[in-house]
C-alpha cells in the first residue's frame, strides 16, 4: 500500500490573484516532490507549469521551488505523508505557477 502526500500548490501568473490547488498524490518512500509534480501533470493537469530538465538527477538545478517555506530542489526533496505546501520562489519574478525567472539577466532570451 502506498503512502499519500497532500500537495497544496500555489498557482497563477503575474497580474492574477494567486490561487491554491490541492492534489492527493500516492507515493513510494524515496520518491521526490518533482515525481509528484510530474504525476499531477500526467494524471490531472498538464497545464501546471513547473520547470525542470534533467528529472531527478539534480544536475540541471532548474526545479528550485519553495517547499513548506524553505527553498529546495523539487528533485531532491522527498515526499512525506501529510500536507506539503509548494510555492514559487518569493525573491524571483514569477513567470507562471511554480516557474520563476531564474536565469541571470545576460543569459535570458530577449522578449
Amino acid at each position: 500500500m502506498s503512502a499519500r502526500a497532500t500537495l497544496v500548490i500555489r498557482r497563477g501568473a503575474p497580474g492574477e490573484a494567486p490561487r491554491e490547488q490541492t492534489w492527493e498524490v500516492p507515493f513510494e518512500p524515496g520518491q521526490s516532490v518533482l515525481d509528484a509534480l510530474r504525476w499531477i501533470r500526467a494524471q490531472h493537469d498538464a497545464t501546471l507549469a513547473i520547470r525542470y530538465s534533467c528529472t531527478n538527477a539534480n544536475t540541471c538545478k532548474e526545479c528550485m521551488v519553495r517547499i513548506d517555506g524553505k527553498t529546495a530542489y523539487a528533485c531532491t526533496a522527498r515526499l512525506r505523508e501529510g500536507k506539503m505546501r509548494i510555492e514559487p520562489l518569493p525573491n524571483k519574478s514569477l513567470v507562471r505557477d511554480l516557474v520563476t525567472e531564474i536565469a541571470p539577466p545576460d543569459e535570458r532570451l530577449a522578449s
Binding site: 501533470r41 500526467a42 494524471q43 498538464a46 497545464t47 507549469a49 513547473i50 520547470r51
Partner: protein, 128 residues
C-alpha cells in the same frame, strides 16, 4: 491510444505512454511483432496530433511544450523502430530475438529520408 476528446487530451500522459511503448517494444531486445506494434502506435499518435494542438497563449506553456515534444518524439521513435524492423540481424545493442546472430550482409548503415511526409529507408555502404 484510447479515444479522448481534445478537451481532456493530456500531452504529459501521452509522452509517458510513448516512452512506455519505446521501452517495451523498441528496447535492446526486439521482434518483428513488437516493432510493428510500436510503429502502429507511433503512427496513430502522429496522425492524431494535429487536431490536439493546444491553443498557445500562457506563459511557460507546458502543455504546448509537451505537444511540440510529441511531434518530434514520435518522428524520432518512428525512425528508430523502422530502421530496427528493416535490420534483420542482431548486432551490438540491436538484438532481434527473431534474427539471432550477426549477418555479414548487414555490415552496412541505413539512411532515412523524409519524403512527402513519409520515411524512406535505404541501406548504404559503411564509409571506408
Amino acid at each position: 491510444m484510447e479515444g479522448r476528446a481534445s478537451s481532456d487530451f493530456n500531452p504529459a500522459a501521452m509522452i509517458e505512454r510513448l516512452q512506455a511503448t519505446m521501452q517495451d517494444d523498441v528496447g535492446p531486445f526486439r521482434t518483428r511483432a513488437g516493432l510493428e506494434r510500436a510503429l502502429g502506435q507511433l503512427r496513430a499518435l502522429r496522425a492524431a496530433l494535429p487536431s490536439l494542438k493546444p491553443a498557445a497563449g500562457k506563459a511557460y506553456d507546458t502543455a504546448l511544450a509537451d505537444w511540440l515534444d510529441l511531434d518530434t518524439m514520435t518522428r524520432v521513435g518512428e525512425c528508430v523502430a523502422a530502421a530496427a524492423l528493416a535490420r534483420t540481424e542482431s548486432r551490438g545493442a540491436h538484438q532481434r530475438d527473431d534474427f539471432p546472430g550477426m549477418d555479414p550482409q548487414w555490415a552496412r548503415n541505413q539512411a532515412i529520408a523524409l519524403e512527402r511526409g513519409a520515411l524512406r529507408i535505404e541501406p548504404r555502404a559503411v564509409p571506408a
